[in-house]
Point group: D2
Chain length 461, copies 4
Amino acid sequence: MERHQLWGGRFQVAPNAALVELNESLSVDFRLWPYDIRSAKAWVAAIAQAGVLDAAEESRLSKGLDRVATRLERGDGDNATDEDVHTLVERLLYEEVGDVAGKLNTGRSRNDQVTTDLRLWCLDAIAAVDSELQALGNALVSQASSGVDTVMPGYTHGQRAQPVTWAYVMLAHAWPLARDRGRLADAADRLAESPLGLAALAGSGIAVDREQIARELGLKRLSQNGLDATGARDFVAELLFVLGIVATHVSRLAGELFTYASAEYGFVRLSEAYCTGSSLLPQKRNPDVLELARAKASRILGDLAGMLSLERGLPAGYNKDLQEDKSLLFDAVDTTLLTLPAIRGAIEEMKPVADRMEMALDHTMLATDLADQLVAGGVTFREAHGLVGNLVRVAESLSVPLTDIPAETASTIHPEFPTLIGSLGTWRDSIERRSTMGGASKQSVERQIELLTQQFAADPT
Amino acid sequence: MERHQLWGGRFQVAPNAALVELNESLSVDFRLWPYDIRSAKAWVAAIAQAGVLDAAEESRLSKGLDRVATRLERGDGDNATDEDVHTLVERLLYEEVGDVAGKLNTGRSRNDQVTTDLRLWCLDAIAAVDSELQALGNALVSQASSGVDTVMPGYTHGQRAQPVTWAYVMLAHAWPLARDRGRLADAADRLAESPLGLAALAGSGIAVDREQIARELGLKRLSQNGLDATGARDFVAELLFVLGIVATHVSRLAGELFTYASAEYGFVRLSEAYCTGSSLLPQKRNPDVLELARAKASRILGDLAGMLSLERGLPAGYNKDLQEDKSLLFDAVDTTLLTLPAIRGAIEEMKPVADRMEMALDHTMLATDLADQLVAGGVTFREAHGLVGNLVRVAESLSVPLTDIPAETASTIHPEFPTLIGSLGTWRDSIERRSTMGGASKQSVERQIELLTQQFAADPT
Amino acid sequence: MERHQLWGGRFQVAPNAALVELNESLSVDFRLWPYDIRSAKAWVAAIAQAGVLDAAEESRLSKGLDRVATRLERGDGDNATDEDVHTLVERLLYEEVGDVAGKLNTGRSRNDQVTTDLRLWCLDAIAAVDSELQALGNALVSQASSGVDTVMPGYTHGQRAQPVTWAYVMLAHAWPLARDRGRLADAADRLAESPLGLAALAGSGIAVDREQIARELGLKRLSQNGLDATGARDFVAELLFVLGIVATHVSRLAGELFTYASAEYGFVRLSEAYCTGSSLLPQKRNPDVLELARAKASRILGDLAGMLSLERGLPAGYNKDLQEDKSLLFDAVDTTLLTLPAIRGAIEEMKPVADRMEMALDHTMLATDLADQLVAGGVTFREAHGLVGNLVRVAESLSVPLTDIPAETASTIHPEFPTLIGSLGTWRDSIERRSTMGGASKQSVERQIELLTQQFAADPT
Amino acid sequence: MERHQLWGGRFQVAPNAALVELNESLSVDFRLWPYDIRSAKAWVAAIAQAGVLDAAEESRLSKGLDRVATRLERGDGDNATDEDVHTLVERLLYEEVGDVAGKLNTGRSRNDQVTTDLRLWCLDAIAAVDSELQALGNALVSQASSGVDTVMPGYTHGQRAQPVTWAYVMLAHAWPLARDRGRLADAADRLAESPLGLAALAGSGIAVDREQIARELGLKRLSQNGLDATGARDFVAELLFVLGIVATHVSRLAGELFTYASAEYGFVRLSEAYCTGSSLLPQKRNPDVLELARAKASRILGDLAGMLSLERGLPAGYNKDLQEDKSLLFDAVDTTLLTLPAIRGAIEEMKPVADRMEMALDHTMLATDLADQLVAGGVTFREAHGLVGNLVRVAESLSVPLTDIPAETASTIHPEFPTLIGSLGTWRDSIERRSTMGGASKQSVERQIELLTQQFAADPT
C-alpha cells in the first residue's frame, strides 16, 4: 500500500530516505494532535457553512474526527511514521470515513493549520506554566510567612552587608515570578490570534467566516495578513523568552539556596526527598534539585538563541526552516514543567536553620547604622562613611569585632563613636531602622506577604 | 590631589591599575548622567522632606545639581576618569557646592541609584525606538498604498506559490512591527517602577516618601523588595528581547528585499543613496543597507544571550556581574537606532519594478485555482490536488506552460480540465478568488492599509 | 522489590517523584551503554591487577558485562527506568552475576566513569561526522569536476560581480569542510584523555595502573587532575563548536543553492527525491532539504550557547548542572548526522542548468577588465575605476549594455574605451584574466580539484 | 572638497546620511591600520614585481606608506571620518605621494585586503592572549607550590566530599588553561593563510606571486579559493570560541574563589588592591575582580552566538553582513585582555587561610576511606557503601561526628567499624590513600606542578 501523503501528484520520484528522515516532523509534532483535531473540526464547520460540505458530509467528518481523537488518545498513533501530525490525522480520517476525508482540507494549507495548532497549544502550555508559577510563588510566600522573625545576613557581592530576615530573602525571589506571570499573560494575549482561513499565503479559495472560526477556537483576534501569519514565529520567540526569564529567576533562587545548603553556610536543610547520593562517597547528600534547576536556564537560553537565529533573514511567508521552531519550544516548555514542580517541592519541604543564620551575623554589618547615626548628629554622609570605614579598619587591625573596639581608640576617630556603638541595639533594631516601604522591616515584609498572597491566589490578568 | 571615590575609608591599599581598568564603568555609563541628575534631585527633595536637609541645604544641592548638568552638557565630563557616572556627578557636585555635597547620598546606595537611572533611560530609549518603528511602519504602508494594483508572485519555500500584490508583501512586514510596538509598550509599563529608597539591599535608613519620589520621576509603581529591586535585571533582558525581535523582523524585511534587488529578480530598485560601490569592481551598486540591516539581528541576539547568561545562578541582591548589563543594552539600543532610520529611508525611496514582477508570474501558479474549481464540481480536494499535480507533471514533461497543455491531453487527466483552464482569467481574478479577510484580495489589502495607518499614527498604548 | 540504586544507605526518605523525574538521565544517556561496558571491562581488569578481584571474580565480572551488553543490544534496557545508564548496567550485572557485581565499582565513581564514557562516545561521533564530511566534500568536488567549463556569474552582495564557473562555486563550499576536518581532528586529539581512576574528585583508593587503562581504551593521554577531569566539559563545548561551524558552512551552501533553485535564478534543478510538495498548492516542488539544512545551524548554535552558559561560574569538580551536557551534545551530533547525508544526496543528484547560468552573465561584469586594461595603458587604477564607473552610468542612462555604448560617447570618457570594449573577448577570456592561484581560472580550478580530491580521500590527520 | 572614496564613478547620488552612519566602519576597524599598512607594502612589492609599478613608483608608494604609518601613529587619523580604515590609508597616501597613490590598489579589493589585515591582527591578538594565559597559569602554579601541605575539603555538588590540598584545587584551574593554549595554537595555525591576491572574489587581474606575498607577511599557507577566502569568517568564529572557553575557565576559577572569599568559607583573603568598597556600607570589601571575571564569559558567549548567527545562510563570497565580525571579535579580545591581567594579579596577591580550610574538614569526609577498608576486608564495594551510609545516618541521628559514634552502636552495623574508625589517621593519611596518578596525593601534586611549570614556561606549540 502506498504511503498516505498530502502531496505528490506532480512528482515522479519518491523522496529519498535521507530526506524523509530529515524532513519528518511527526516525532516532534505528534503532541499537537488534540489541537489539530480541534482546528479541523472548526474548519469542517466553516467550510460546511460556506457550502463546500452538505450536512451529511459535515456530520461524517466531524464525527470521524472525534473517532480519530479517540484512537489517538488510546495510542493508535504511537508508532506512526507519517510525515507529520497533519498527515497522520488525515490518514486516520480516511480510515474512519473513507473518501469524504479528502474534503477536510479544502481551502486549507498546512501553513495556516500548523500555526493555528501551535497557538492553541501555546495557550494551554502558558496556562500550565502559569499555574506552576503560582504554586512556586505560594511556596516562597509560605516560607516567608514562617520566617518573618528569622534574622540572617543580607548579602551583596557575596559579602555580608546588612541584617535582614529569611522572609525578606524568600520574598525577593517571589516578586520576579509575579512579574513573569505578567509576561506570560502578555504573551498569551498577543498570540491568541486566529490565522485559520489564510491558507498557504494568500487567503483561502473558500469564503469561510474567519471570525466565526476564531470564536469557535476561543481565539481573540484574526491574523490580518496571510504572508505574515503563516511565516510569523515571533509568538514562539516571545514565549521562549518568557520561559528563559522564568528559568533565569529559578536559577537565581536555586543558586542562592545551593550556597545556603553548603556546610559552611548551613542556612537551610533540604529534605532528603530532594537530594541524591553519591555512587562512591557514602556520606554525600547532594542538592541535585538545586543544581539541575540552576542548569536549566542555560538550556532554555540555547533554545531562545536558536529560535531567533532561525528567523534571521527569512522572507515573509512559510519557509521550511520554521519547522525547527517546535523542537525548541517543546524542549523549553517540557524543561520548565519538569523543573518548577521539583523546585517547588524542595522549597515546601526545606527547613531554614535559624541558629546558623544568626551565628553568621557579625557586627561590622552595623557599620551603616553607625554612619546613619553620625549623620543624625550633623556629619555629612560621605564623611560619616569615611569615619566608620576607618573604625572598621582599626577593628580589623586589632582583630576585634567592631563593637569591641576600645572606647579610647574609637573616640580618636570620632568622639561620638563609643556612645553610638553602645546604643546599636539588637539585630532586629537594626533591621527596623531600614523603615522604607519595600525594605526589610517587619511592616514592609508583612505588607509584601499580603500583596503576594493576593498575587499568587489570583488568575492571570 | 586624591581621586574622588564613594568609598575607601576602610581600605589601606589603593586599587591596582588592572582592577581599576576592569572595574571602571564611566566609559559605558557616562550617558546615564541626565538620569543620574534627575534621580539625585528627586532624592534631595525626599531627604529634605525627611528632615536630613534644611531648606538652604536642599536649595544648594538642587541648584548645584543643575549646575553639574550644565557642565556635563557642555562637555566637562568628556575626558573624566572617575569610577562611574555616580562618582563623577558627586565629584562635580563637591566642586560646585563644597562639603554639603557629602549629604547628597545620605541613605542612598549606588545599588538603588543605578537601577533607577537605568529604568529612566530605558523609558526614553523605548520612546525613541517606538517612534522609529512608527516611521518604518508608515514607510511600509506608504509603499503598500501605491502598490495595491502591482501584481507579483507570492513565494513560499523560495518558490512561486500564488499571485499576490506588492501591497500585500509590504503589509506582511508592517504587521510584525505593530506587534512589536505592543511588546515595547508592555516592557515600558513593566519597567516603570521606582526602586529609589531601597538603598543597598534592605531599605534606606532615612524614612523617605517613596511614593512621592516615584511621582516626581514619572514612574508608575514602587519596587516592593530591596533585594529583588537592586539585583533584578529582567527589565533589561525583556528590552533586549524586544529589540532582538524587532531586529529579526527588520532582518526578514531586509532579507526579502535583498533577494528582490538582485538582477535575477529585479523586483525593486534601491535608491543610489542607500547603496555603496566596490573598491575594485567599477560597476557595483551594492545594497549595503539591506545587508547591514539583515546582519544586526545577530548582534542583538548576542547581546540578549549574553544578558541571560549573565544572570544565571546569581543570588538576589546586587552582584558586580550585573555591571555588564549596560554594555549589552546600550549596544542593542544604539544598533537599533542606527538601523531603523537607514532601512526606513531605503524603503521610502525604493522603487518597485512592476513589469519585472509581472513577468515572474507563471501559469503553474494557478494550479490551486484549478483544484478549487474541480472541488466546486464535486471532486474532493485531496483528489483534485492529485489531478492537478498530474497535470503539472505532464505540462513539465511536454515543456509547455500549464495553460498550453493540449485539451485532449488535459482531458485524459480530468474531463473538465480544458474548460477550467480556459476560464482561469487574469492574475487579478486569481487573487480575488482568495477572498477571505486577511488574504491578498483588494478589499482585504485596503482594509489592512486602513488598520495599519491608524496603528502607526497612534501613540503606543 | 526495591529499586536498584548506586547510593542510599544514609537516606531515610526516598526521593520525591518530581525529583526522580527531573534527575533521571537514562532517557538521555542510555546510548552510552556500549561505552559504559567498555570502560567497565577496563576497570575490572585494572582492579583485578590491583588485587581487588581474584581471577575468578575478574572472569565472572568480565563475562557478566559481556552478557549485559548482549542483553542491551537485544533491547533489554529499552523500557528501563533506572536513574542513569551506570545504574542500569550495574543492575543488569547483578542479575547476571549476583553479589560479586557489587565489586565492579570499587574505587570508581560515576564522576570519572561518565566523562570516560562520554569521551569514548565523542571519538566515535567525530569519526562518523568526519566520514560524512568526506562524503559531502567528495560530492562537491564531483559537481566541480563536471562544471569546470560551466560559466556563470560570481556574486558579491547578492549582485553580479565577475564571471566564474560552477566548479569554482562548488569548490568555495568544499574548502571550509576541509578546514572543519582539521578542527574535528584537533578536537578528537585533545579529548582523547583517560580520566578513569580519578574517582569522584581526588583519585581512587585503589592503586590502579591508569596508563594501562588508557591503552586498553585506546586513549592517548591521562587526565592529570581529578578535580579538573571530573568537572571539565570543555571537550564537549569544543565539539559543539566544531559542529556549529560545520552546520554554519552547510547552511551557507544550502542558502546559496536555495537562491539558485528559485525560478528567477534557475541555476540548479534539484532531484525530486530531495523535494517535497505542498498540501494545498498542487504545483509546488519545494527544496525542503536546503531549507532544513540552512535551519539546522541555528539549532546547534543554541546547543553551543546553552553549553557555554552552563559551565559559567561553576567551581572545579563535578556539579550536577553538568548532566545537561549530554542532551545538548547528542542533539547536535544527531542533527549533524541527519543533515549531512541528506544535503550530500541532494548535491550528488542536483543538476546545474548551464544555459540559465550563462544567460545571467551581463556585460557590466566586464567593468573590471576594462579598468585593468586602462591600467595596462598607464592610467592609475583609482582613476581607471572612476572612468569605467562613468561609463557604466552612461550606459545605464542610455539603457544599453556596457558593450553597446556608442563609440563616440565612450571615447568622450576615455579615448581608449571603444578599442578596449572591442577586445573584451569571451566570458572565458575574462575568467582567465584572473590568473592568480586560487582564482577562477581553469588552471587554478583544476589544481583545487586535485588538492581537494586528495583531502577528501584521506583519513583525518 | 570632495570626500575621498574608493568608489563612486557610477553613482549620481551621494549616500544618504543615515546610510553613511550605518555603513561606516572606521570607528571599529581603525585599529587595523598597522596591518593595512603591512599588507599594502607587501602588495606594492608584489605588483612592482608583476610590472605594474616601476622602481621609482614602488619606492614612492612604499615610503609613502611608511609616512602614513608615522602619521597614524602620532594620531593623525584619530578624528578621521573616512568610510573605513582602507579608505583612510589610501586618502593619506594620496596626501603623501599624490596621484601615484591611485596605483596602490591595482588588482586588489577591500575583500581580500580586510581578511588579510584581520588575519594578521588575529595572530598578534592570539600571541597577546597566550602570553596572558601563561602568566595566569604561572600564578596558579605558584599558589599551588606554596599550598602543597595546606589541607582543605574538596567539594562536589557544593558539598564536602574528600580532603584535598589547596595546591590540588589551584592546579585544577591551571590544567584547563594549558588546554586552551593548545586551542589558541590550533586556531593560529589554521588562520595563518594569505588571501591577498584573490581580489574581490575571482582572483586578481594582476599576476602577482602570492607565495612571495605570504612569505613577506609571515603567513604559512595560501587561501586556495577566492570566493571562499573573501567570505569565510570561520577563523573569527574559532577565535571567538577559544576566547569563550578561556573566559568560561576564568569564570569557573573566579566563581570558586568568590565562594571561598565569603565570610562563611573564609578560605582566601584577597588583597585590598583587588577589592572595592560600597558607596553606602562603610565596612564592605567586595571581591569585584572575581565578580567581573565571572561575568565576562557571558559577554563573550554573546559575541560568539552573534558571530555564528551572522554567517548562517549567507552564500560564499563577500556580503556586507560580514562587516559585523570585527565589533564582535574586538570586543571579545579586549574583554579577555582586560580580564586576564586583573584576575592574575588577584591570584598572585591572594592569601589562602589555612586554618579556616582545616576547620572545614569534618569526619564524614572519611566515609569513603571506611568503605575502602571494608572492601579490603572482603566486603563488596556496593555493600560497604551501604554500610557506611547507615553509619553516617546513625551518627547524624545521634548528632555526633562519624568518628565519635559509640563502638557498640557502630559494631551493630558492621563488627569491623570500631577498629576501622580507630585507624583512620590524619587528613593527610586520607589524602595519600588516593594514590593514583592525577589524584590529590603529594606525589601526584608535585608531578603536576612540574608538568605545568614546563607547560607555562614554554612558547605555544
